[in-house]
């Protein structure tokens, strides 16, 4: 395999590693948000797979259930599931992370599972919307309950040792992603925003031991074998807002010569690459669940955390300086109320307080309006160049 082939795992729902994994009678569990304790699934010897809408081109099946006011990402994933494209999953984990995602659980429980001979195993986590010690303890209980459900439904035992091992694998994965991220913020970046997103998406579609080998290869490749082009970068951009798993969207942004050197997206750089958002010194750091809760709760960048806005803005500010950002693209999926409210605030705060230009984009998951989007990005780049 060529070292960069790993990135191409983002182009299709399945990939060679996943196919082999399933062929060897192993299980795969899908999950929607970065707030799901993947490490527990990993410790169970199962492949945690981040659900995405890759390859979907219509909403025909999903529209028979969801309404015109639902998020097109969720519709895309449901469309794929109803069309059998996710039949490789043995389970699906959801949480109350947003109004669209949490209803997928109900749709499976109340409709899809009732009308099939092979109902999928469903798991649900109730997650807090506030950072505090009580929330931390609640999340710990939820993870423990999830672990118990996994053990019961799959007739397995997940002992503490396996969780500690999984934590080590995930820690290594995080370090490697941090290393790869460094290639992105060089004066002459070696890695485009498109490729960084591809790596992240691929990383969510394989077992992390396999991912770590591939990431190590990529680190070596970018460190020793890759020469960046001499072309001038028109602007260094950061993307904020709704999750993106379609590199095509970032491609549109980079099309006119800008480069996305940073982001704070739950499908990309947010994943373990940020300073911890919420700290509490009283928490027991020797607890094997500590790193998991830290990642999915204390380090949660999602606007669903009601007392986290100023923490999130501190992080944005820090990244603007550290990654030398010229302009910011604040985007969201249509009908996403969480990012709708957050983006409104972020745009005002960045422009008025930090004096950094912002382009605000509302988008559909299926990229149907690319011409208009390209024109808006081009105009934004011209605005940045005039400054």
């Amino acid at each position: 395999m060529i070292r960069t082939d790993f990135m191409n795992f983002s182009a299709t729902l399945t990939n060679p590693h996943l196919i082999n994994w399933i062929a060897e009678k192993n299980k795969v569990i899908g999950y929607y948000c970065s707030s799901i304790p993947e490490e527990i699934i990993h410790a169970a010897g199962i492949l945690p797979y981040r659900i995405r809408g890759t390859g979907n081109d219509n909403y025909i099946l999903a529209d028979s259930i969801l309404s015109q006011f639902n998020c097109s990402f969720i519709k895309s994933t449901l469309n794929l599931m109803m069309g059998g494209k996710y039949d490789f999953l043995s389970g699906l984990v959801l949480a109350n992370t947003c109004d669209h995602v949490r209803r997928i659980y109900d749709i499976f429980e109340q409709k899809i599972n009732k009308n099939t001979k092979t109902p999928i195993n469903l798991f649900f986590l109730s997650l807090p919307h506030v950072f505090n010690e009580r929330g931390w303890n609640w999340v710990r209980q939820e993870i423990r309950a999830f672990q118990g459900e996994l053990e019961k439904k799959f007739k397995i035992q997940i002992d503490e040792e396996k969780i500690i091992e999984a934590n080590e694998v995930y820690k290594k994965n995080q370090k490697l992603m941090e290393r790869i991220k460094e290639f992105r913020i060089l004066d002459k970046p070696k890695l485009s925003g498109v490729d960084f997103l591809k790596i992240n998406v691929a990383n969510g579609s394989v077992r992390k031991e396999y991912a770590n080998d591939q990431l190590l290869n990529l680190v070596e490749y970018y460190e020793h074998d890759f020469t960046p082009s001499n072309k001038n970068v028109r602007a260094r951009l950061m993307i904020l807002g709704s999750s993106i798993d379609n590199p095509g969207f970032v491609e549109i942004i980079e099309h006119h010569g800008a480069i996305v050197v940073a982001d704070l997206l739950c499908t990309s750089e947010r994943w373990g690459l940020v300073e911890k958002l919420w700290k509490n010194e009283k928490i027991d750091k020797t607890d094997p669940y500590f790193p998991i809760i830290q990642r999915i709760y204390a380090d949660c960048f999602c606007p669903r955390m009601m007392n986290g806005h100023s923490l999130r803005m501190d992080l944005v500010n820090q990244k603007i300086k550290h990654d030398r950002i010229d302009g910011i693209i604040v985007q969201r999926l249509e009908f996403c109320d969480l990012h709708g409210g957050e983006n409104m605030l972020v745009q005002h705060e960045i422009e008025e307080e930090l004096n950094i230009p912002v382009l605000s984009i509302d988008r559909e998951y299926l990229l149907g309006d690319t011409g208009r989007l390209r024109t808006r990005v081009e105009a934004f780049l011209e605005r940045l160049e005039r400054q």
Partner: protein, 425 residues
């Protein structure tokens, strides 16, 4: 002088509307609306007087047990109720404020209840809230919208985190959240909580629960004795009068009307042809719609989820410790209308709809797919199937914004309802 401009405007509108109704409409008609406006007049006058005396103003979410605020010498104001009361009582509605919020970057598809208040807050003469108290439920709009008040307007905002599980673990957790809320409010307001005042407030609510249960028993009668406008008004009563004496008074007086009409076998509709059940919200932007259902279509809205309490009064109130009263409120507020159906698994929503449709002998259902409520619009199709299979009734869905007449006009809604009735009669 602290501003409470929107409340002053509402007070004037209430007075004018009441005057108009008293002057133009026969006394035996529109009784529910009349009772509401009388209660509203008293409630708003009291609030404005208290604000003028310098009492702190607590802004709160509709899904929050406002009884808790009675522990303090303060004025509670339900934030979501204000734009919808504007929608109902002013010809121009709240649209101006929606546009201001949209102009600031608030998305068009977010809930108009918070959007209206954001628009008002971006203007001068907003309500000078001393503190805002909210739950983290029942929807993304609550979560996102209130960050505007805490971050942009810098109003101290206390959040009680509501778990998704409505079970003993969830109730217990939320009870502690509410207990913490009281101590936080105590610090912000610099007042010690008076739990005897809380007891009195719960007593009002207990009576309100009992009266509403009786009203609902009577609404099962054919013809339905209570006019359809009871549904949107009842939502306003629960939210705007929460924890206050006017809530008890409203239900008590409506109960008398219902009793009298049942005795006289008098229905709200001129001729009751179809009994409609509304599994979700009512229309707020035009209160004539409910009258149109009764008078022109003969299709009273006999029930909806907002006007049915899925819990009992708090028992043994006289002897309860403060913690027990707060735990009782925690349980009730997690089972509030809409919270219960929206901030938990959808089967609760379906079971409630089936139960109410049966109880009220509904011939059909009409689901208002409010653009703000993604958690409910996600399961409309499932609701349709459940009502068809388990109750045998058809369901009409109307996509709209309950507080903004520009998304789907009254005429369009009426046309849809009339077309639907053609399939029923």
């Amino acid at each position: 002088m602290r501003s409470a401009k929107p409340l002053e405007m509402l007070y004037e509108a209430t007075e004018t509307t009441l005057e108009l109704i008293n002057g133009a409409i026969p006394k035996h008609e529109m009784k529910v609306l009349r009772i509401f406006l009388q209660c509203m007049e008293v409630n708003l006058r009291t609030k404005l007087e208290q604000i003028a005396e310098g009492k702190p103003i607590i802004g709160h979410h509709f899904a929050f047990p406002a009884e808790l605020f009675s522990c303090f010498d303060a004025v509670p104001v339900c934030i979501e109720a204000i734009p919808y009361l504007f929608s109902a009582l002013f010809t121009l509605g709240s649209e101006k404020y929606y546009d201001i919020a949209n102009g600031f970057g608030h998305p068009y598809h977010s809930c108009s209840s918070q959007k209206g208040m954001i628009g008002m807050a971006l203007q001068e003469n907003f309500i000078d809230f001393d503190v805002i108290a909210i739950p983290s439920a029942p929807c993304d709009n609550t979560i996102a919208g209130y960050q505007f008040f805490s971050e942009y307007k810098q109003i101290p905002t206390i959040v009680a985190d509501m778990p998704y599980y409505h079970n003993s673990r969830g109730y217990e957790y939320y009870g502690i959240e509410l207990t913490n809320m009281v101590s936080n409010l105590s610090k912000y307001l610099n007042q010690k909580p008076d739990y005897e005042k809380l007891r009195r407030s719960i007593d009002y609510s207990n009576h309100a629960i009992e009266y509403l249960a009786e009203i609902n028993n009577l609404r099962r009668a054919i013809p339905c004795p209570i006019e359809s406008i009871f549904n949107p008004i009842g939502s306003a009563v629960q939210n705007f009068f929460s924890g206050q004496q006017e809530k008890e008074r409203f239900y008590k007086e409506v109960l008398e009307v219902a009793k009298e009409r049942v005795r006289g076998k008098e229905g709200a509709a001129i001729e009751e042809k179809i009994r409609s059940f509304w599994p979700y919200m009512s229309l707020f932007f035009d209160i004539t719609f409910a009258e149109w259902l009764d008078r022109k279509v003969g299709m009273p809205a006999v029930s909806d989820i907002f006007n049915y309490f899925f819990f009992d009064p708090i028992k043994n109130l006289k002897t309860l410790e403060p913690k027990e009263m707060i735990n009782g409120l925690a349980y009730q507020s997690m089972e509030y209308p809409m919270v219960r159906q929206s901030e938990s698994f959808a089967h609760v929503f379906f079971d409630d709809a089936v139960n109410l449709a049966h109880q009220f002998s509904a011939d059909c259902a009409i689901f208002t797919a409010h653009i703000g409520c993604k958690q409910s619009t996600s399961v409309i199709q499932l609701m349709r199937e459940v009502l068809k299979e388990e109750v045998g009734i058809p369901m009409l869905t109307i996509e709209l914004d309950i507080g903004d007449k520009r998304m789907t006009s009254l005429e369009t809604i009426q046309k849809k309802v009339l077309e639907f009735t053609q399939t029923l009669l």
